[in-house]
């Protein structure tokens, strides 16, 4: 009897619902300790003073505060940099795979130079040294810095994806008489991108996170607004916890969208993704061959 109830208790204890509740309770306990710890140091929480800076409700409707303005700038910079990073990634990956040694050398040099220095130093270098010489504005500098940095990492991922496309696909494409443009855009890229999508999404998450660094060159993004707010109101913890939550919301939603795109298998994927050709799902290859007709027909 006791044996049975112990077994059923164990079953219940390890059920997904119970595990979820236990994790939430543990996290809540951790949070409570943190909050109490701050009070122990003599910090008084004043969340109510933070909300006007987030936004205010009035008869006219909702007026966003400076933090939401900052969030808008962060989203804007992230989107622009994402476009810049995609261009950089494709260009560098193609140069890296090009038959010409000069192109390969050039892309290797760019990739190494960017990967071997911290982003914050690159931003300073671009903003304080290159931008005044070339005559670039603040926003373009930030977008170029972020786009170059993330693009270099994405280029290496993309290159791995392109190399993972089976040789047969190239040969099939050529024997069908596809132009190089069609070969790349219809056959190679779709498969390459799909193979490394998890890693690319990770890079996108990194881009949103790293965009916080543009605050160091006085761009009014979320982090800059938060810093100014802290300097003005001294609401240190309220502001930073709230800002962290906003960033989590952004990066989390990107991960969520990507997992929807990819299907359930990507949920547990590693950074770097799966480079093995076996990772290429057959459906996309089949779809590609259906589109161009099979050579047997």
């Amino acid at each position: 009897m006791t044996l049975l109830s112990r077994a059923s208790w164990s079953l219940w204890w390890h059920s997904p619902l119970c595990v979820g509740v236990r994790v939430i309770l543990t996290l809540a306990a951790l949070g409570w300790i943190v909050v109490r710890g701050a009070e122990g140091l003599g910090y008084s929480w004043q969340w109510s003073r933070l909300w006007p800076h987030v936004g205010t409700w009035s008869a006219a409707g909702f007026t966003p505060g400076i933090l939401l303005h900052g969030l808008g700038v962060t989203v804007q910079i992230s989107l622009l940099s994402l476009a810049a990073a995609s261009l950089t990634a494709v260009a560098l990956a193609l140069l890296r795979l090009s038959p010409s040694p000069l192109s390969r050398l050039f892309s290797r040099a760019v990739i190494e130079a960017v990967r071997d220095t911290p982003l914050i130093v690159q931003i300073f270098l671009l903003y304080f040294v290159v931008a005044p010489i070339v005559g670039l504005g603040r926003l373009p500098t930030a977008v170029i810095a972020l786009g170059l940095f993330e693009g270099v990492y994405a280029a290496e991922i993309l290159r791995a994806g392109i190399l993972a496309v089976p040789k047969g696909q190239w040969e099939a494409g050529r024997s069908l008489g596809l132009s190089p443009w069609h070969l790349w855009t219809r056959v190679i890229f779709p498969q390459a991108v799909r193979a490394v999508l998890p890693a690319l999404v990770n890079q996108g998450v990194s881009l949103i996170k790293d965009s916080a660094l543009v605050s160091t060159i006085a761009i009014y993004d979320l982090t800059m607004r938060a810093q100014a707010l802290v300097a003005e109101t001294f609401l240190v913890f309220e502001t930073w916890f709230f800002v962290a939550a906003l960033y989590l919301l952004l990066t989390g939603s990107l991960s969520w969208v990507a997992s929807k795109l990819q299907g359930p298998s990507s949920l547990n994927s590693l950074p770097g993704g799966c480079y093995a050709p076996s990772c290429l799902t057959g459906s996309r290859v089949r779809r590609a061959s259906r589109k161009f007709g099979s050579p047997a027909r």
């Binding site: 071997d116 911290p118 270098l125 590693l270």
Partner: protein, 294 residues
């Protein structure tokens, strides 16, 4: 592998590339010589690299580089501890630990480092009393101990902030190390576990003596990459006034106004640091691969 074998395109592509680079460089030179007057003064930077008065000693930038290396070393060690615990929790049998560690790791990985640094600096660092105790104890040391301590942790007065920053860095990088550890453990075939159980080993013994030694070989390249990232990511600690290379660069700019020289020099030092570390890591990797073949 060579995806586009047609040589003619390679030639024209090269020509375009060379032309574009030449035009870009030419325009840059034109701007820098005529449009934006800046009186370059590299010798002014020298005393900040190596100072000669009153005696030969590392200057501000080299001190900063040393502090960057110390911060990366302790942060990296912290990351290994955090990452191993996190990675083991991720492959635990208990769904509770898997979910809890998963949530915490994803939380850290999805928050900007800058925000984590601010939160950690103002918030968590003060709630760890042993940091203050360590600082107090360090002040009491003299002689050889003091020398050793300063070698390992830099100026004693900055010990507390260095340890706090290293802890934050350890958590930030640890979240990535955890995934490397998890992948490493999961890359070992189940049969190895079964064999261990069959031989009557306990779970801990199997992990220590069978699984981890094999997993380590898989984990070495990504761990080396993460170590190099740690050096670069430590630059962010400048925003909380840890006196590492980037911070010293900012200080230098604030006192000498030699903006251009300062940032070019700082970037060059980082480049040399990480390039050296990468080639070291490559050498170790090749050594390991050769070891595996024998």
């Amino acid at each position: 592998m060579n995806p586009s074998p047609r040589n003619g395109r390679g030639f024209w592509g090269d020509l375009v590339l060379v032309l574009a680079l030449a035009i870009g460089a030419g325009w840059f030179l034109f701007r820098i010589t005529t449009q934006v007057p800046y009186d370059w003064n590299w010798p002014a930077l020298l005393p900040y690299l190596v100072r000669t008065e009153p005696e030969l000693a590392p200057g501000l930038l080299l001190q900063g580089m040393a502090q960057t290396l110390r911060l990366s070393l302790w942060g990296g060690l912290g990351a290994i501890v955090v990452g191993t615990m996190g990675g083991l929790a991720r492959v635990s049998h208990s769904p509770f630990w898997r979910l809890l560690s998963g949530v915490l790791i994803q939380g850290v990985r999805n928050t900007p480092p800058l925000v984590l640094v601010f939160l950690g600096y103002f918030f968590l660092a003060d709630q760890i009393p042993w940091l203050a105790t360590a600082q107090h104890a360090a002040r009491q040391t003299t002689g050889l101990w003091r020398l050793l301590l300063e070698c390992a942790f830099g100026p004693v007065g900055q010990l507390q902030s260095l340890l706090a920053a290293a802890s934050i860095l350890g958590v930030m990088e640890g979240a990535y190390v955890a995934e490397i550890v998890r992948a490493g453990i999961q890359s070992i075939p189940r049969g190895q576990w079964d064999a261990g159980y069959a031989l009557g080993f306990s779970k801990g013994q199997i992990l220590c003596h069978i699984i981890l030694p094999q997993a380590l070989r898989v984990m070495t390249p990504p761990l080396a990459g993460q170590g190099i990232s740690t050096v670069k990511d430590s630059a962010i600690m400048a925003v909380i006034s840890i006196q590492e290379l980037t911070f010293q660069g900012m200080q230098l700019m604030a006192t000498t106004y030699r903006t251009f020289e300062t940032w070019i020099a700082v970037a060059a030092i980082y480049f040399v640091l990480t390039a050296t570390l990468s080639s070291l890591a490559h050498a170790v990797e090749r050594r390991l691969e050769r070891g595996q073949e024998v």
